[in-house]
């Protein structure tokens, strides 16, 4: 069944896609022993491809029943011969031996348009009788169409694909590394954050001693506000010491800080501005309140309650 199907396909292929010529001279026809098929495998060929002409002689009996004479290259129009070859086959069909001699020619089109393989004569001698006979093919047309992209022109695809795959792999590796580094950094940062708040608490205690009877209120208020500003800058990337109170407060609203904490910061910085720039003597109670609030902000931040 499979064999039949395969044969049918070949037969149909030859029927539809080739120009088939079966020519026999009167003598051979009479004997019905040898037949000639000449066809091209594609009736249309892109300009940058080749087309193959097959000349098939087949007869009943052994290969040595006929001697096929050597023949010249076919005469061509708009085609160039690129190569040729021949094969011999013997097959048995329903107990009858069949010999097949096949000649193939490969042609390359010259220009877009029509190409032709002019008819030519195949001579052979029947070895049993010693009589020479001739077979003639028809003129075979070939349509030459626009060239198609050359497989060679796509040669860049392979290295590009290799580069892309390598790049993708590199990115994946980098991404994994980054994530790993970020995880490690987060761990370090949280450790730093703890250290930072403790460091600022220590600085606060060192710079302002509320038990000191001769405490310079103005300077202490200034120290407290600077310490708070530096902490906000380091911890929350708020504008640094070059920013005014309003700029610092405005920036905190974008940093999603707890509203209560923002209000406390505002109170401290505003009170500090008054004490620093108004020339007024600093009220001890205000200073103590500022100290307590800053201490509490640092402790809240340490516990992660500031956001």
């Amino acid at each position: 069944m499979k064999l039949i199907t395969w044969r049918s396909v070949i037969t149909l292929f030859i029927f539809f896609n080739t120009c088939t010529v079966i020519a026999q001279d009167a003598d051979s026809l009479a004997m019905s022993a040898i037949s000639l098929n000449a066809f091209v495998r594609q009736s249309e060929v892109p300009q940058n491809r080749t087309v193959e002409l097959v000349i098939r002689l087949h007869w009943s009996g052994d290969l040595d029943r006929y001697e096929v004479h050597a023949f010249d290259d076919p005469i061509l129009q708009n085609l160039q011969i690129q190569g040729s070859g021949s094969t011999n086959r013997v097959a048995s069909e329903n107990g009858v031996t069949k010999a097949i001699r096949e000649y193939t020619f490969t042609f390359k089109p010259e220009a877009i348009g029509m190409g032709y393989i002019e008819s030519f004569i195949v001579k052979y001698t029947d070895l049993s009788s010693g009589v020479e006979h001739r077979l003639t093919t028809n003129r075979i047309p070939v349509k030459v169409i626009d060239p198609i992209p050359d497989a060679a022109s796509k040669a860049w695809i392979v290295p590009v694909l290799i580069v892309l795959v390598a790049g993708g792999a590199f990115l994946v590796v980098q991404n994994v590394r980054k994530k790993k580094a970020a995880r490690q950094k987060n761990q370090v940062d949280s450790a730093d954050a703890v250290a930072m708040e403790e460091e600022y608490l220590q600085l606060l205690r060192e710079s302002v001693d509320l038990n000191e009877p001769t405490l310079n209120g103005g300077k202490s208020f200034s120290d407290i506000s600077r310490l708070l500003r530096r902490f906000l800058h380091e911890r929350f990337d708020a504008p640094g010491l070059e920013a005014t109170t309003t700029q610092v407060i405005d920036s905190l609203s974008d940093r999603k800080l707890n509203d209560r904490v923002v209000n406390e910061i505002k109170e401290i910085l505003t009170s500090a501005d008054i004490s620093k720039f108004s020339g007024k003597a600093v009220d001890r109670a205000n200073l103590e309140r500022a100290y307590t609030i800053v201490e509490s902000i640092l402790q809240k931040s340490l516990r992660g309650e500031i956001l």
Binding site: E242, T245, T246, D273, K276, F277, S278, A281
Partner: protein
Amino acid sequence: MSIDISAISAKIEKESEFIEKITNQVSKVIVGQKYMIERLLIGLLSDGHVLLEGVPGLAKTMAVKTLSDTIKTQFQRIQFTPDLLPADVMGTVIYEQKTGTFSVKKGPVFSNLVLADEINRSPAKVQSALLEAMQERQVTIGDETFKLPDPFLVLATQNPIEQEGTYPLPEAQVDRFMLKLSIGYPNREEELEIMRRMTALQTPTAEAVVSPKDIVAAKKVVHEVYIDPKIENYIIDIVFATRQPREFGLAELEELIDFGASPRASINLSMAARAHAFLRRRGFVTPEDVRAIGMDVLRHRIIVTYEAEAEEITSEEVVRKILNKIEVP
């Protein structure tokens, strides 16, 4: 030493009452432009002349005219033209044929408020005459020297987009203006309101609600506004940063600044900051006041190099970098 801020604050509260009246009257005519009106008041309160720069049609002249309408005072508008002469502004000596004597005819500069409209349309000799009067606050006509009235405020306008037929103010003379304002376009809502208000059958007018006496009294209080040495040093830092940027961690500005701000900048920054605090009813100056007014005081006092101009870096960008870098006290 403790400063009695409460006493200063009380005085400010009393003497600044007219600010609201002026603002209300001005806002009847002018839509938006709060920045410009506030700076004009700062100029008025701190004896500082103001140069307004902006494209035509931004109500620069109207704002000045409206401000003068709210004050029961003399107002003169001088339209600067290429054929204007110094005598047209300052005044001249006229020969009286009947009496055979010379008499002085004072020019429009003898007024409390002088609007020098399109000041860059007159040649340098007229500009110089006016700018000298602005600085000296006196004018000599013939053999006689006349003091200019108090308050005396010159508000000049200029259009930055025209070059042909204009005489740009020399840098040294621009320095005489305490503030140089850069006036921008109104926003959409403001423009809609301007359109409605100005196409109404009766266009609004401002009434005179303040006397020159009120202004003079307020000016005295502005001088009393406390400025702490920390703030003074902050101002000095800013001004010095325009001259020696490297010392303030702004080495990249060194090649961009040809000439830094003069000592007049420090004086004006201090006075303008006091006036700004006064407008906020505060008896002392904070860094906020300095920062708020810093750009208007400094933008015309820094001369950028050719390299900066080639890179399209303006003096405003230089000032902004300085203000953003110098630590507040």
